[in-house]
């Protein structure tokens, strides 16, 4: 066991922190209010290599480990989760999926521009009637010999508009149920793809979320990832890693709110002293600190397992469920410590609280994580 970060990990953490404070903080409130996608910010983040930070350098990735990814995700999420979610979807879902299960041709063609950050990706799994229950896919990918014909609707798609490369999960053999599902790499500009309106969300408002409709979209056969029918295990494996990203995001939301609350409690005076000196607040902050530390350890443990090529599905579910629920608690307390100031936008904590809520819902709700965790108990 070793709890010491390497020099490189610390440098990445600092780089992410500097980026968040210099490039994201100054207009995060405005972007949230206007629901404005941070295109320029993402471009800069991509130039620094954060979107494909774990990908093998031979495909233009950053070659960093998952621990570094957790640290970077936490720092970015402290300031702006709408940016962090782009980073998570690219790294954990789209890029990891193609790098791990794609063939060499697919890697050369699709992975390279994604890993280098020239293009961004989206992962299309959720449907109007299949959210956390990923087995009941209604979107179909009909086998037409040399191509698939894609039809159906996907919901709540992060990066739907800004991505160039989609990974779409769709049913090819309905009779085979989840064993008939395929994962296809789809060019977003293919004819027959239309987007629903930008979702007017409670939080992470500047992330670009839409529904996506497919109407007779032709996808070449060579864009299928893995063997015929590999789509479901592909999606499940990919989401295992995705959970580390979202867990780290929730962690960052919590620690960002905590840092602000701590600072505020040492500056704000009430009854003749800084409010930190009122024990009720000191204990609140102490509880928040313990929860954050727990959450961080869960994230790092899951990341460590992944880096050691050990099974991490349960660990990542634990991290995701705990951090998401914890972020909700911590941000709520952070708002409370700020009093009235916490309820107005300028102090950031109300936004962090709104962002925390989403981490309990997307990429597998907290309830679904509990299903994953409880099932693992029986093994």
């Amino acid at each position: 066991m070793n709890f010491e970060f390497t020099e490189e990990q610390k440098m990445i953490q600092q780089a992410a922190k500097d980026f968040a404070e210099r490039e994201l903080l100054h207009d995060v409130i405005e972007r949230d209010e206007k629901s404005e996608f941070p295109a320029e910010h993402i471009k800069k983040l991509a130039e620094l290599g954060f979107l494909g930070m774990m990908t093998d350098p031979k495909y233009d990735g950053g070659g960093m480990d998952t621990i570094s990814y957790v640290l970077a995700m936490e720092e970015i999420s402290k300031v702006d989760s709408s940016v962090a979610v782009v980073m998570s979807v690219c790294n954990s879902l789209v890029i990891w999926g193609i790098e791990t299960y794609g063939n060499e041709e697919q890697k050369q063609k699709f992975l390279r521009p994604l890993a280098s950050g020239q293009k961004i990706g989206a992962f299309l799994l959720s449907e109007p009637e299949a959210g956390s229950d990923a087995t009941s896919q209604r979107t179909t990918a009909e086998d037409k010999g040399d191509h698939y014909l894609l039809n159906g609707t996907k919901n709540w798609i992060t990066n739907a508009n800004s991505a160039s490369t989609y990974i779409v999960i769709a049913q090819t053999h309905p009779d085979k149920k989840h064993k008939g599902i395929n994962a296809l790499i789809v060019d977003k500009n293919s004819p027959g793809i239309t987007l629903g309106p930008h979702e007017n969300k409670m939080g992470m408002r500047s992330s670009d979320t839409h529904s996506v409709m497919f109407n007779d979209v032709i996808v070449p056969k060579e864009n299928r990832i893995g063997e015929d029918g590999f789509g479901f295990p592909f999606a499940m494996k990919t989401l295992e890693g995705g959970r580390i990203g979202i867990a780290s995001q929730a962690l960052g939301i919590a620690s960002g709110a905590f840092e602000r609350a701590l600072k505020y409690s040492m500056e704000r005076k009430a009854f003749g002293t800084e409010i930190f000196n009122h024990q009720i607040n000191a204990f609140k902050l102490s509880d928040m600190a313990v929860k954050i530390e727990n959450g961080r350890n869960l994230c790092l443990k899951a990341a460590w397992l992944k880096d050691q090529h050990l099974p991490y599905g349960t660990a990542s579910a634990m991290a995701k469920q705990y951090c998401a629920d914890m972020a909700m608690e911590v941000t709520t307390e952070a708002v409370q410590i700020h009093g009235g100031y916490g309820y107005v936008k300028e102090y950031h904590v109300e936004r962090l609280m709104r962002e925390a809520k989403l981490t309990q819902i997307y990429e597998g709700t907290s309830e679904v994580q509990k299903i994953v965790i409880s099932r693992s108990l029986l093994k």
Binding site: H26, Y264, R268, K269
Partner: protein, 323 residues
């Protein structure tokens, strides 16, 4: 023995800073039972030079040579080294400004004389020569001992003030030897802003931060500055955003100033900013955030809206000036 002072001139004129340096040197000279010799480089009239005697200059070495127009680090160092030898100086005083910072370190090496930069007080003892300076950009103080027989100090502006102490002020033409090898740099163009009060000279500084919201809102700050005969400054985010030129950036990595009065409008007071203004005698902060750290550093504070407070302040100052 003597205490030597280098006084810069600005188009043939001295500034308050020049007289402050002489006043300071004079106090050190008293401690050492010796007298003050001033070196002036460049074209300065006799009447102007004579003014230095009011603050304790016994002798003024006037090095007026066309070759010395424009600061040249190596050549100026040679001039001062020759003056030190000639006058047997044991303490040499510079201003802690760009020219002091350019020459003093070179002279330190040339004379093997220990250097204390940015000092703010007289030496607490002359044997050993112990002096206080700010470190960590004013977050702490250090006592520094200079161990060498000859000592060099650079004095922070406004740290000492003016002390009159008339002395003979004999002006002596000084023709130091100038070597061609000292002239490896050349000033080819000078571009000066005129008609504006320089931040480094200003007794009053009016400064704005991110709370001003936009560079277009600087009108009232400039108006107040004109009313008070003040310089204008800003915090780092403001210059980074390009709302104001970077020459106005006051703080740890920008200008360090020590005016009598500093107005901070919409400046939260990050520790880096406070480092640049902690020498100010009086700080007034206006900020809508009652918990902004600037109020910890301020002498007077108003928690309120800049849009309202600034115009009110301008009219109140106008009223005062009218009476």
């Amino acid at each position: 023995m003597s205490v030597l002072v280098y006084t810069e001139n600005w188009d043939g004129k001295f500034k308050k800073l020049s007289f402050e340096l002489v006043s300071y040197a004079n106090e050190i000279a008293k401690k050492l039972n010796t007298s003050v010799v001033v070196v002036s480089i460049g074209n300065v009239g006799e009447e102007e030079l004579k003014k230095l005697s009011n603050y304790g200059a016994s002798k003024i070495l006037n090095a007026n040579n066309e070759k010395l127009n424009g600061l040249n680090n190596q050549a100026y160092t040679s001039v001062l080294a020759e003056a030190v030898a000639k006058e047997n100086a044991t303490v040499i005083v510079f201003a802690h400004n760009n020219s002091g910072k350019a020459i003093a370190p070179r002279l330190s090496v040339r004379l093997k004389a220990g250097l204390a930069t940015g000092v703010m007080t007289l030496p607490s003892s002359t044997e050993p020569f112990t002096i206080t300076k700010k470190i960590y950009t004013s977050k702490a103080l250090a006592n520094l001992v200079i161990k060498t027989p000859v000592k060099i100090v650079t004095l922070l502006q406004n740290a000492f003030g003016l002390v009159e102490g008339p002395a003979s002020g004999t002006i002596e033409q000084f023709n130091p030897e100038l070597k061609d090898s000292d002239f490896k740099t050349k000033v080819v163009d000078v571009n000066k802003v005129t008609g504006k009060i320089l931040l480094s000279d200003a007794e009053i500084v009016v400064s704005g931060g991110r709370g001003m919201k936009s560079g277009e809102n600087w009108g009232p700050i400039e108006e107040l500055a004109v009313l008070l005969g003040a310089g204008t400054a800003c915090s780092r985010p403001v210059s980074d955003e390009g709302w104001r030129p970077h020459e106005e950036h006051t703080g740890q990595t920008g200008k360090i100033i020590a005016p009598n009065l500093y107005f901070a409008f919409g400046i939260s007071g990050a520790i880096q900013h406070l480092g640049g203004i902690s020498g100010a005698k009086c700080i007034v902060a206006v900020n809508k955030d009652p918990d902004a750290p600037i109020f910890e550093a301020a002498d007077y504070g108003i928690v309120g809206d800049l849009q309202k407070v600034l115009p009110d302040l301008i009219s109140a100052v106008k009223e005062l000036k009218a009476n």
